[in-house]
Amino acid sequence: MMENVIELQHVYKAFKGFELKDLSISVKKGFVTGFIGGNGAGKSTTIKLIMNLLKPDSGTISIFGMDYKKNEKEIKQRIGFVFDSNIFYENITLAEMKKIIKPAYRKWDDTLFNQYIDMFELPLKKNLKTFSKGMKMKASLTIALSHHAELIIMDEPTSGLDPIIRSELLNILHNLMQNGERTILFSTHITTDLDRIADYITFIHNGQHIFTKEYYKIEEEFAIVKGGTNLLDRDTEQEFIGIHKTNHGFRALTANKQRTKNIFGDTVIIEKPTLEDIMLYTKKGEERC
């Protein structure tokens, strides 16, 4: 009975030197999906496709079960986009910014806007260019929340923010998720932030979807394995996604923790992987080929 708010099916999009290949991903309603991948993996392109700022070469994209061709206005009303950097007009105040944006949204809520302004302690009458990165992110979030967005898309919202503001943001997101009606897609490369909030992780690499999994399944399935290089041969190396060898031993990532345990038993050390490990070793594994 789980509803998908975002559904991409077999999406292709090619640019010079880069392509998204057969991307099929879905984002579940009522949950936070962490969207990870290295620079140039295709995260921004995917988000632009989801926002209808780019059109796919082929494949289908549906948002809230609707198609942009027929329901663009309706979809856009229900999406809030929170970004990290300077897409704002810089030379106006937040109060002026509100005046420009408000008419575009049927469900714009001034009371809510004022509540968030108070809560985030944002100045209404100061020029936006005087805002810190944290304030810009909060302003962006305020606008998304003030039109009752059901789907909030956040593009690197925590990059460049100090730990206190990052933690504050995560608390705000926890609060937003309380009624189970909102959905968040959170793209980031600060993967530790995802430990505290992400329900699902969607990982793309080189324009391809590697996986979407419940967060806890990652540590059930993947593991970092450490041991002596004498344990490695052509067969055992097949067990790993990526291997890092030194004179003192090897460190590798497996996607099948249980089988690795059965093969190596007590001869290796098996540890919980971080999302960074998974990104790193996926890249390493590719270089090996």
Partner: protein, 125 residues
């Protein structure tokens, strides 16, 4: 309801939550019919994702410790404490029996085994 999770533990977080709630139910700290915090509230309070608390609650439900009513929340099930105790006692007996057999195989005397048991019991707090 107290739940304290460790990020350093090898045990997955949902198992930690499961074990702590289960213990509080079995020891009657959480009483039958008592309501649990919502999954989303607990996730927020523990600063973890909703899917983690969801998994813990699902397993508690599958194992008959709690039940959920859509829109109302989750509640502690009526426990038949005597039955639980009886079941536990059986398991303990079996485990002790196999410890006794193993001891006999290598000639460990009853006194020695008792000492070991006392030591281990005190260590595990």
């Amino acid at each position: 309801m107290q739940v304290i999770i460790s990020n350093q533990s090898k045990e997955p977080i949902y198992r930690q939550i499961y074990a702590q709630i289960k213990k509080q139910i079995l020891t009657n700290e959480l009483k039958p019919g008592e309501s649990l915090p919502s999954m989303r509230q607990l996730a927020k309070d523990l600063n973890i994702s909703v899917i983690t608390t969801k998994r813990a609650y699902e397993e508690l439900e599958n194992d008959g410790f709690i039940y959920s009513i859509v829109g109302k929340g989750s509640f502690v099930c009526e426990q038949n404490n005597e039955m639980i105790l009886e079941r536990k006692m059986k398991v303990i007996e079996e485990q002790l029996l196999s410890a006794i057999q193993n001891s006999k195989e290598v000639g460990i005397e009853l006194e020695e085994l008792k000492e070991l048991l006392t030591l281990l019991y005190k260590e595990d707090t």
